[in-house]
Symmetry: C2
Subunit: 337 residues, 2 copies
């Protein structure tokens, strides 16, 4: 493999702890001899008029060209007149599905030990339309937009994912008993797609009930697909079940086969530069990127090394109750490869 | 107390298991000598044009007159041309705050043992506006409405509740990083009210993060106040932490001092009429009603009897892993009074 022509992937180390955990990924990829060449892009210091945000046009072009990338945390600078970095990426690259596998890590104890599910979130519309206005003084409204096109697209992805990954069930999460037209359309699209996948069990679960079931018995769920805001909420809830955003990977799927893997935790400015950050979420995200590229053997090897290192418990970062530095933890993973 | 002039309260036994669990409340109130006289109202069999639902006008008039009531589960009959029973009650009686205390029951083991929080949900607007339409084929939108009046009203209630109940912190739950105008207005109102309560700590928590923190460490929370849909989601999540909707009470506060206590679980038609239902949620809701009426000593006695009966574990209904009938469980509570 090391002699194969390397694949170029965009890397956004991001802010805060981003560069340190990106370093960890680079080191592990090198140790595992992964045929990836990184094209690094940092968040700019000025608003780029072509993106209306601190993201440079060049960095977006890089993802469009490479079709694959990895992204660390990005803190959106405070101020007006520009768009959030994360939302800009989603809009500009049409990252329509956010995929977050969530599983209990052996040896890292939480209250739950049998979580193994994947949330698939519609990532471009819904409550994130940005359409809000004041009707009269003291009365404001925001628009939730659901389209047939985006709903079909994410439903298609969810069923495709379920089938490709040997998953048995897709649950559509909704509140169509209240939002009959918007969430109703979302469900209608899911049902249409479900018909094409008779081998996958399809069910619909109301979001409030879903959250109750998730905290009572997460093993009831397999693949969950849902509109934007519900996905935002439920994916964080699920991450909480297995230890938090520091441990859970994600990957954004865009139109034309783009895949941008992403650690969704914050940039943790308080510990930035202190060699203390936990790189697990970004590492596991990079594994999702490798799987997307069908570099399956390396993906498997790296994932096992990460999981085993955490399970052994000798080297753990402070957030997991250990006292290892980012470097020590990364070295331990490399040794476990 | 038994010689005091009784207070008249409206009772909606509701459907399914409703009548059986309402019977349980009546029996416990009698055993505890509670000075309440019930005015019973059932859901009608025809649409009442004055309420546009199966709820009769007389039943709403009864709550308006008595200013206090207790409600079992109501299954909204399927079909078009009428409004959901629960939503009709909220709209017609202007039930602006839904209060759900949620605490670990000693002796009833879940994954969490230190939950003691209260969710206070805005109950009249937000995502429940009912305003939805198709923009063009394949594109639908729904309106989320946030008003200054309703936000101030529920925030006032939350801080008033926190103070009156010796609670120390109020957390406003929101997604104002995305819905800056709607959730932003909600937060602005919460901040205004918070200023008047310097003795109560005020904080703001983004809903996705809130759900993650709730499953990781619910002890971080005390009183939570939020817009309608977030309240719907988070109150069910919290109920899940301590065992589910069969164990958690709620009370709706309406304009003009109306209080309608309510078991928010379903009507469980599969076990209706079998003397199997768990009356705990309705019983604890009736305790909230008594506290609202300042019948504090009886409220305390009944609550302790319920909690002790569950803790002893000898008499438990099937949903809690026991084999007692509704009647046996109710008798045990009466003996514990
Ligand atoms: C930072 C925020 C805008 C974002 C979202 O709401 O989508 C985050 O919570 C996420 O899940 O990626
Ligand atoms: C039945 C449904 C309309 C209702 C709601 O969404 O408010 C329920 O979930 C509740 O919490 O009382």
């Amino acid at each position: 493999f090391s002699s194969a022509t390397p694949i170029t992937a965009t890397l956004f180390p991001g802010d805060g702890i981003g560069p340190e955990i990106a370093e960890s990924v680079k080191q592990v990829f090198q140790a595992a001899d992964v045929p990836i060449e990184w094209e690094e892009h940092y968040v700019g210091t000025e608003i780029d008029p072509r993106t209306q945000s601190f993201l440079t046009w060049e960095s977006l072009e890089s993802v469009r060209r490479n079709r694959v990338g990895l992204k660390g945390p990005m803190a959106t600078p405070i101020g007006k007149g520009h768009r959030s970095l994360n939302l800009t990426l989603r809009k500009e690259l049409n990252l329509y599905a956010n995929v977050r596998p969530c599983y209990s890590l052996p040896g890292y104890k939480t209250r739950y030990d049998n979580v193994n599910l994947v949330t698939i979130r519609e990532n471009t519309e819904g409550e994130y339309s940005g359409l809000e206005h004041q009707v009269v003084r003291g009365v404001v409204e925001s628009l939730k937009i659901i389209t047939r096109a985006a709903s079909l697209r994410v439903a298609e992805y969810a069923f495709h994912y379920a089938k490709a990954n040997g998953r048995e069930r897709v649950s559509a999460i909704h509140k169509a008993n209240i939002m009959q037209k918007t969430d109703g359309l979302f469900l209608k699209c899911c049902r249409e797609v479900a018909e094409k996948y008779p081998e996958i069990t399809y069910e619909e679960v109301i979001i409030d009930n879903c959250c109750m079931m998730l905290v009572k018995n997460p093993a009831l769920f397999d693949v969950l697909v849902m509109p934007n805001l519900y996905g935002d909420i439920i994916s964080d809830l699920c991450a909480g079940l297995v230890g938090g955003l520091g441990l859970t990977p994600s990957c954004n799927i865009g139109e034309g086969g783009i895949a941008l893997a992403e650690a969704v935790h914050g940039s943790a400015p308080d510990i930035a530069g202190k060699n203390m950050a936990n790189p697990t979420a970004l590492l596991l995200s990079s594994v999702m990127m490798l799987r997307h590229l069908n570099i399956t053997d390396k993906a498997e090897r790296i994932q096992n090394a990460i999981i085993n290192t955490i399970a052994e418990g000798k080297y753990r970062t402070a957030d997991l109750g250990g006292s290892s530095s980012t470097t020590e933890f990364t070295n331990a993973i490399c040794n476990n490869l």
